[in-house]
């Protein structure tokens, strides 16, 4: 059986050489920012493009009487809290275009590395909204666990012999 498994494994590896070696197989030198941006250009065509609907000929839902129901605007006229939030330089797509339009200078990659702040774990501030309630939930949960551990409700000792 192990022989068969090895054969299947070989078949899998042989069937995928074009995939496996598509990248040349091994370290490649770090590319310049110009190469990098050119390679990723197709990526931005649709995933991040909010205007993709217009390009594909789809009508703008806000033009229709019921359009607002499908938009992120509140139909009751309330302000959209997310609209005012810090979004960097606007849409990712727009920023990306600006970056490529600005030229492909050397060292651009390093420049953006400095721009991207590394997301790390942070200590929770005791001033966070609802911190006291969160502490309460944690304490109650801990007490339930402690209670169950002491009382062992339902766990019982009534072992029965299987044989």
């Amino acid at each position: 059986m192990s022989g068969k498994a090895i054969l299947i494994l070989f078949a899998f590896l042989l069937a995928a050489p074009s995939v496996a070696f598509a990248h040349g197989g091994g370290h490649s030198e770090e590319k310049s920012s110009a190469d990098l941006t050119e390679e990723v250009t197709p990526l931005n065509d649709s995933i991040y493009a909010v205007d993709a609907g217009e390009e594909s000929g789809m009508s703008d839902p806000s033009d229709t009487p019921m359009g607002s129901l499908f938009s992120s605007n509140d139909i009751l006229g309330n302000e959209d809290p997310l609209a005012d939030m810090e979004m960097g330089d606007g849409e990712p797509m727009k920023r990306f275009k600006e970056k490529t339009d600005a030229g492909h200078e050397q060292g651009q990659h390093e420049m953006h590395k400095q721009h991207v702040e590394e997301a790390t774990h942070e200590w929770v501030s005791p001033h966070a909204k609802g911190y006291g309630v969160a502490v309460g939930i944690t304490i109650i949960s801990g007490l339930v666990f402690a209670g169950l551990s002491i009382l062992r409700m339902g766990e019982g000792n009534s072992n029965r012999n299987l044989e």
């Binding site: 990526l43 065509d45 997310l82 939030m85 997301a119 909204k129 009534s158 012999n161 299987l162």
Partner: protein, 336 residues
């Protein structure tokens, strides 16, 4: 038995939980699966609540998570619970798989349940991956970028996983659909099957023949799992209360500057050696896991009498630990 108990027993069929299981069921080793289920339950409930505040469009996703963290009452705690439940689930799931392998519980007649477990493992990885993408910061963007690179290499087969499949629909929205709908539904279905086969084949005996032969009822085992679940939830709450999950700002496209979460960092290390590892490694690991019950067919379950299996197990643990550590401390030397 009180009248109420009798009514409940008759109407709800609770007496069906009175079947016998070995007494070693009530131990941490044999309750790791139950603990994983607790974390999954916490993930489902917190996920439903999180979904009320998440905007799955590329231009709003990241800011909606920031809004949740900063402006929504206890939003930070909710997201913390969701995040840490995922972390705990990873640990208990891997430990559960190690226990099953160590005790040879995948052997006849439980091969099918091992395969279902491998399927659940794959689904959990996909859930973690899609969850990483959804926060739509630099880390999330780069994760999706890598995924698209892999999908492209599969040609026509990979098209359904790319934006070309449904032009005009942001891929992030489809990732969201997978995360909150498709993957959880599949997980719950497989989980049901997994539990059914545990009941059908019964919990495996101790591998070294030290079974006492005594049993407890399944209801007693669920009482133990309830206590373990309360412990797991308390631990999740404590972590959520003290350490906030990472969250960056909107991504800058075309850059590859972050490292993936620790669950995926081993593949980052492999990618650093050989880029196509991104494609080969997941399939190879999946293939090896699926092969386990078909390669190791001897009835022997005692770890001391299974030196090759133990060698494979410890080598795998050491290899992945080394890759995770290396991935954490190494610097990327290539760009895709």
């Amino acid at each position: 038995m009180s009248g109420l108990q009798k009514i409940l027993k008759e109407r709800l069929g609770i007496h069906l939980l009175d079947y016998e299981v070995p007494d070693h069921s009530n131990s941490i080793k044999y309750s790791l699966g139950g603990m994983t289920m607790t974390s999954f339950g916490v993930l489902v409930i917190s996920g439903i609540l999180l979904a009320q505040f998440f905007n799955p469009t590329p231009e709003r996703a990241n800011s909606s998570v920031h809004f949740l963290m900063d402006q929504v009452y206890m939003g930070w705690f909710l997201r913390g619970i969701h995040f840490w439940a995922g972390e705990i689930l990873t640990v208990t799931l891997v430990l559960h798989m190690i226990r099953v392998f160590y005790t040879a519980s995948y052997k006849k007649p439980r091969e099918v349940n091992w395969l279902i477990g491998v399927g659940l493992f794959g689904l959990m990885i996909n859930l973690m991956f899609t969850g990483t993408v959804l926060k739509w910061d630099q880390e999330g963007y780069e994760a999706l970028d890598h995924f698209l690179w892999v999908a492209e290499k599969f040609g026509i087969l990979g098209v359904p996983l790319t934006e070309n499949f449904s032009p005009g629909i942001p891929l992030l929205s489809r990732v969201y659909m997978a995360h909150i709908s498709l993957l959880p539904i599949l997980t719950i279905m497989l989980l049901g099957l997994h539990l059914f086969y545990i009941k059908y084949h019964k919990l495996s005996a101790k591998p070294d023949g030290t079974d006492t032969g005594k049993s407890i009822t399944f209801a007693q085992h669920t009482a133990y799992l309830r206590r373990a679940g309360a412990g797991v939830f308390t631990f999740i709450c404590l972590l959520a209360l003290t350490i906030s999950p990472p969250l960056g700002n909107v991504p800058i496209m075309g850059l590859e500057v972050t490292k993936p979460p620790w669950q995926f960092v081993w593949i980052y290390a492999l990618e650093n050696i050989w880029v196509p590892s991104l494609i080969v490694a997941p399939f190879l690991i999946g293939f090896c896991l699926v092969s386990v019950p078909f390669i190791d067919r001897s009835p022997e379950t005692d770890p001391k009498k299974r030196p090759i299996a133990m060698l494979v197990l410890w080598s795998t643990i050491i290899l992945f630990t080394a890759l995770i550590l290396w991935g954490k401390f190494t610097t990327m030397t290539h760009s895709m």
